[in-house]
Symmetry: C2
Subunit: 364 residues, 2 copies
DNA sequence: TACATTAATTGAAACGTTTGAACCCGATTT
DNA sequence: AAATCGGGTTCAAACGTTTCAATTAATGTA
């Protein structure tokens, strides 16, 4: 057939087959404004031949000539983290009608890949870049090359607005407060807290929200019931931490009636630990998570949690970079989204007789 | 600066800035074989200038000229399904050292998007395409255009080898058998089964495996304990189905000591239903899933399940298409991977006194 | 001094598109 | 009959690379 060396059908092939010039064919197939001047018979003729040959315009040649790729890079730090997906979905949803096309990259939490992919996006002339980062990548020199090629960039999950990068993230402080207040209002007074790992920027504000509400309610947090997750080693590492701390708490014997975990996976680890000891959730002890990811929803008991408006964050991000591309928005901005309390089955009022694992209320 | 209209630094910019020709600059920066003939001083000079200006070669121009994109398209039917991710990871892992680059697309279970994305991949001149499909998309005319442009294609999760497309999928029959045998060996004799939806091609063979083992063990499956999920409406729709069927079973009152669910999410729905009725898993009733996705692992009790070697399937797929690209493999092949039993906490021997919800052994 | 040899660099064509300007030609206007 | 018009089509240049062939400069040989 008309297969050229590359194995792909080109405009030239169609030109030859139809007897018209490459220009005419191009005009017709790309539906350029000029195509109105092309005779109707010619148009259909060319179109049918293209169809027949299975022609697809070469995106590379086209973008090169048009000097536009209609492409937006999305760099997700870890696609296996259920946290990422709704954000990506949000971005996609907003991009769909805009004729922009997402280029999705999964960093797999590997520092080196992050740089590689960022370069790749630059090479692919992405019109803008959205980074989903939550943790990892302390000193990223995004600033460097991306900025140098004046590609709009936006980051979700970290506040880098101070360093000149627009950011979107949940109001962690309010989230922490929301969680704490919920437990307080249920009647809990002895609440264990598992803080996030130090290198994770969500940790501190979330913890501040918790403390503030505690103080405000005249509740004092027992230091022996406060823990901090060690460094993050993967999306499921929170689970291990939650499990381990719970075991420790139970053997230590400080009484508590609720656990406020840093995120959903950690909370699920806590539930596992409590159940190991024969304790029921929420009858004997309440547990709260943070994020509202799928596993939290389908676990039994369903997890009470603080929902991050992930999808909305994605949409907001897409909207922002589109604005930036169109040159309407230049200044860096910080956008904090409002978290939302989702009450499910893992929280309830504390048992009337205070749980204290030392007194052997385990079952087996 | 040297910014041209496009806003991106080009070879010409560097040529101007360095005083050398575009050719020389290209030769140096792309590390072409000829670059050995270029004076060392020139080389370093050019390189530093490129660095300084933040040059990144234009992938479009480059691919156009080189007539090769080093790109492999991955079309995932639904990234929010935890099933997809490990496969994608496997592909990535295999691709990493090969200098090929994955182009990841999330179809979001929308038929129309599937076609769009496939076209897009053709336009982007992907060297090969891997489709992760499990369900959806009955009559896909992949065959048409993709074939016409002779791009190697491979599908994971469906058997399309009969229609001339290489396929990789788990041996569902063996999986079903494995699950059933496990429950039988624990001593279960009255086992409820929730079959997969009709339009999903995994359903039938899995069910066959179950029946065969039942027959082989001289166990008869009570029709009143066999259900079939309705059409799939999303990754979490299995959960709703499992929950609903369990409620129905419990009110119907047929005794059973174990539930074999079509997949993990369905199994989690079953657990929820049992718990609602105050029944314990696995003490009062065992539950099994299929797939081994994250939520199954972090739920309590942790779900006993049949693991699909998802990662390995991804790696195998990548390997295959790489072979095909290099022209070594031409014929279509079907590869069935072996499932694996993962015993966790949700299965145990049946209670000595047979559970029968009619006799009011609920708790509250 | 002229000539061949090597080393370093460059010219120019090509990849597949798009697009403003030019072209051709039959029909209308003056 | 010449000039104008405009519908239908094509020329040719450009996008940023790569790469073969050609050019120049410098060195060694006759």
């Amino acid at each position: 057939m008309g297969q050229r060396k590359s194995g792909h059908v080109t405009l030239l092939d169609i030109a030859r087959a139809s007897g018209f010039s490459v220009s005419t064919v191009s005009i017709v197939l790309s539906e350029a404004p000029l195509s109105q001047n092309v005779a109707a018979t010619t148009r259909t003729h060319i179109r049918t031949i293209a169809q027949q040959l299975g022609y697809h315009p070469d995106a590379y040649a086209r973008s090169l000539r048009r000097r536009s790729t209609q492409t937006i890079g999305i760099v997700a730090f870890d696609l296996s983290d259920p946290f990422c997906i709704p954000i990506v979905r949000g971005i996609q949803a907003k991009l769909q009608p805009s004729a922009y096309f997402p280029l999705l990259m999964d960093v797999q939490t590997q520092r080196a890949l992050f740089d590689d992919y960022l370069h790749m996006l630059l090479e692919r002339r992405a019109d803008a870049v959205i980074v989903i980062a939550s943790w990892v990548f302390e000193e990223m020199n995004l600033l460097g090359d991306v900025r140098k090629n004046n590609v709009p960039i936006l980051i979700i999950g970290r506040d880098l607005s101070a360093r000149g990068t627009s950011s979107i993230l949940v109001d962690n402080e309010e989230g922490g407060a929301l969680a704490m207040r919920h437990l307080y209002e249920l009647g809990h007074r002895r609440i264990a807290v598992i803080r996030g790992p130090q290198e994770l920027c969500d940790s501190e504000p979330r913890w501040k929200g918790v403390r503030d509400v505690a103080a405000q309610c005249g509740m004092k947090l027992d230091e022996r019931l406060v823990f901090q997750l060690p460094g993050v080693a993967g999306p499921a590492s929170g689970f291990a931490g939650g499990l381990q701390f719970t075991r420790a708490m139970l053997t230590a014997g400080q009484p508590f009636s609720a656990v406020l975990a840093f995120d959903d996976l950690t909370a699920l680890g806590v539930v596992r630990g409590l159940r190991e000891a024969g304790l029921r959730v929420p009858e004997d002890c309440s547990v709260m998570g943070f994020d509202d990811i799928l596993p939290a929803e389908v676990a039994t008991p369903a997890m009470t949690t603080i929902r991050q408006p992930l999808r909305e964050m994605g949409m907001e991000a897409a909207e922002r970079v589109l604005q930036a591309i169109r040159g309407k928005e230049k200044k860096v901005r910080l956008h904090r989204t409002r978290p939302e309390l989702v009450v499910r089955m893992s929280t309830a009022s504390p048992p009337t007789t205070f749980m204290n694992s030392r007194n052997g209320n385990r079952r087996s």
